[in-house]
Symmetry: C2
Amino acid sequence: MLEAPGCALAPKQRADAMTAHTLQLIARPVGLPKDSDFALIEAAPREPAAGEITVAVSHLSLDPAMRVWMSDAKSYWPPVVLGEVMRAQGIGRVIASAVPSIPVGALVNGMVGAQSHYIGPAAGFSVLDLDLLKASGVPSPTWTLHALGATGMTAWFGLHDIGRIKPGETVLVSAAAGAVGSIAAQLAKQHGCRVIGVAGGAGKCAWLMDELKVDGAVDYRAGSIGAQISALAPKGIDVYFDNVGGEILDAALARLRRHARIVLCGGISQYNNTERAPGPSNYLAMISARATMQGFVVIDYFDRYKEFALAMGALIAQGKIVAREDIVDGLENFPAALRRLYQSQNLGKQLLKL
Amino acid sequence: MLEAPGCALAPKQRADAMTAHTLQLIARPVGLPKDSDFALIEAAPREPAAGEITVAVSHLSLDPAMRVWMSDAKSYWPPVVLGEVMRAQGIGRVIASAVPSIPVGALVNGMVGAQSHYIGPAAGFSVLDLDLLKASGVPSPTWTLHALGATGMTAWFGLHDIGRIKPGETVLVSAAAGAVGSIAAQLAKQHGCRVIGVAGGAGKCAWLMDELKVDGAVDYRAGSIGAQISALAPKGIDVYFDNVGGEILDAALARLRRHARIVLCGGISQYNNTERAPGPSNYLAMISARATMQGFVVIDYFDRYKEFALAMGALIAQGKIVAREDIVDGLENFPAALRRLYQSQNLGKQLLKL
């Protein structure tokens, strides 16, 4: 539909010439999101007002937290309003601008929503410097949607600020073949930790070992999770970076070293529950382990982006970060692409290309 | 059997004249501890060897953690060995001593075990200064088994080091009519917090309001725990001091304020489970609340006793601490006294008088 960032600039489009599509959330999902929870509608284009920009969206970031935003439960952001565009971060090209500092043609990253064209306030958007990104060794501007964006920040601040990882410690990462987990596993390795990744299936586990160079991989589909962790970390776990919850969390709780930290990043195994699911039975092990479990939300760290970007940029420039993109095409496939996350089908960052 | 501390000194007893009884743990309890899990045996007296003392035990501290020590699960202390004396802290009079610094007649506090006479190393025992205690306003040396001992330290360090309570914050305390909970509720009040106590039954709740002067009491036997907490803390909870686990923990998790802290002190509702119990379903609420849950064990703070004793001693001297003792008589009633804790029958500190 639109050119991928990194290609030559597309011919400038005029707002009145475009066909815009918006994906609205029209029902609160019960369990896994269904196609019928969304409606793809043709949107009426308009010129941006003062302070606004029009962005032709090229890629959307698909994130496990989307399932939380779609429900009407209390969370760190208000729920997506029914009948409005589904919330999503993305990148795209500015095709019309009423903001002097953002020229037409600029590549931007921001909360564009699940739609072909974002028309709204420029606040919160950042302009990407494609030349600088290339010079820094960033293979594609889509990396600002994962390794060099909120995904990477989640891993970075989760490990350092919440997990307080130290060289030599044993770090367990769940959903280690996913977007945040794969970055967290690598960052912990780079910091001198012993890293064990948990993923589903032999293929993902092989990727963890061969590409991410973790010290051990646990296949949660292949027998006892606890026994596998014990075999790889006989002295227990210092830090557990949890993206998943459920059985894996329970297995980790039973294997905590003294003063262990559990980084509560997400609980993807729980997001589509239709009934109240049991919590982690083994939580009382945190008492004798003197362990800490802490929840966090990456948006609290957005004002520390530079600190992160410097460190992560250096690792990327040295070729030390592997980031795999799992790309689905077409806005109409947004629901299916989202389901891939909850069905553990993605390897690396799930993106939607428009 | 022996005089209560604070009474006149008993005539000095000689080791060879005493009849000693020891309560052995002879079976790992399944569910609630039964009388038949213990055996009361007559013990052979002996003179203390070098470095040892003989203590005629007057009072034992009964603690919820005992149930954990009785099982063979991994914990902060090794399990009590079957066929050996049940582990217990207590106070008593030294009736024989092979330690120059501990004279016969001294009143001591230490891990005496569930027995009439402790004969063993003096290491870990502290000599109580009865005159100093009285001058400090401590009503009885048994207070070194609760308000001025490990019970009080658990409340103090749990609130300050783990909970990091601040004046003006809303603090929820479960088992607030119990030993640790009743002290925690009062210490939080003294620190300028708004305190809500949870207890079972109208009588205990009245005691919390009338004697401990908490700001609100939740009767967990009287309808929805969550609704009661919400009514008393409509803006949510900053610190939850948890002695109980189960439903109350889940209700608290659903009502956390941002940056809330959960002090994981114990989980008395879980200790006698015979089947794997569900953990706290609502733990994922810790993510959007940016909340922290931290387990701790008071023995880690024993080297900071003075810091605690100064602060707590001052409060006691000012008459600002209410501590109720719930005393059962006779070593043979140890199992029954212990069950009182798990059946929520005790009001204040459960002691056993020998």
